[in-house]
Symmetry: C2
Subunit: 214 residues, 2 copies
């Protein structure tokens, strides 16, 4: 069975983005601080077209993220927030560029129908208007036996968590406070639906917690 996997960086006080998120600043004010552990890594720099960088205990954790994911589900904010219906005369193709880093089918949760968007490098964005379960089912069919990645944002993650549809969750806990912003678990309730802590990796500036069904 193809699993639904999810990863996110979170502050010690539970925030995954700072306040005042916008198209210009999708992580919100200060939100970059929960990601600071990843930027020095050679594997991060290489996959973003940069040279140099270091390897540490986070390297194999980041490598695993990229493995065995055959399709991605994401919220419309993660695709590139749009305020309403898609406009045929002014198409908005998200903020991932012409050659998005997915290289596999991506299913975008939205209230507004739109034809699929075929990008370079094997990424196709398919827009799903009939809910999170339909999007997950479509992604599983498209994943070719591999896992489905839940690409975020936090709102989409909360919906899948609350519905008990997440099979594995990697939280990269950054020892910082954001103080305000968007919390991962707001409104999710008190039930992890069988997800239990199965692995902890300690690395410079971060603790990687893996919760999975046992």
């Amino acid at each position: 069975m193809s699993r639904l996997r999810f990863r996110i960086s979170m502050s010690l006080d539970g925030y995954v983005a700072g306040p005042n998120q916008s198209v210009e600043n999708p992580l919100g004010v200060g939100g970059m601080r929960v990601h600071e552990w990843v930027f020095p890594l050679e594997i991060f720099r290489r996959t973003h077209g940069l040279e140099g960088g270091v390897a540490n205990e986070s390297t194999p954790v980041v490598e695993e993220w990229l493995e065995s994911v055959g399709a991605t589900v994401m919220g419309r904010n993660m695709f590139g927030g749009h305020p309403g219906p898609w406009k045929a005369e002014q198409p908005w193709n998200g903020w991932w560029g012409d050659d998005p880093p997915f290289h596999h089918p991506v299913f975008v949760l939205t209230h507004y129908p739109r034809e699929p968007l075929v990008m370079k490098g094997g990424t196709t964005f398919t827009f799903v208007t009939d809910g999170i379960e339909a999007a997950l089912a479509a992604a599983r069919r498209a994943a070719g036996g591999k896992d489905v990645g839940l690409g975020g944002g936090a709102s989409a993650a909360r919906q899948y968590l609350a519905a008990g549809l997440v099979d594995q969750m990697d939280i990269s806990l950054a020892p910082v406070l954001l103080g305000s912003g968007e919390r991962l678990f707001d409104g999710v309730g008190d039930d992890l639906h069988g997800l239990a802590l199965v692995r902890t990796v300690v690395a410079p500036g971060v603790v990687h917690l893996r919760l999975a069904r046992s």
Copy 2:
């Protein structure tokens, strides 16, 4: 310099107590779940007058809590919440019993003056009405060169954290969700005042994070 040390168990979604806290249920509904990792431990059972129990990676962490603390500061809820002025005709001596487990001077933050309360076993409760810094200064004088423990509850902890007065914070992170209740970091802001992650101990059902001034 005597350090102000603080330890607390917290859920993955940042709660240190569940909703609907009361004198009968000081941890709130479901709040016990963040403490479940400690109950099986032999060291916990022994210090609570019980036999049996196990040792695991949490054992040395719990042992350290008890070491080198010469005085304790706590909020009035931790002493045993009282709704208003102390009543001489109906004294309330907290919920720690006749022989409290501190065995050293304890300074209770309160708005209502009261004479010190001398208990069995070396514990004296002194009631401090002139604020957190005065209580800390008194505790440091009383600690005899040892550290000062911040006994909680969450409200007192938040005040010391926001003021930048905490020198070491041990968070025992339980991989559960409470969904609602009292959050440790609400209103603390986005500044840890130099506290950085210096140690992580992974144990059954819990990850112990230590933040301290570097």
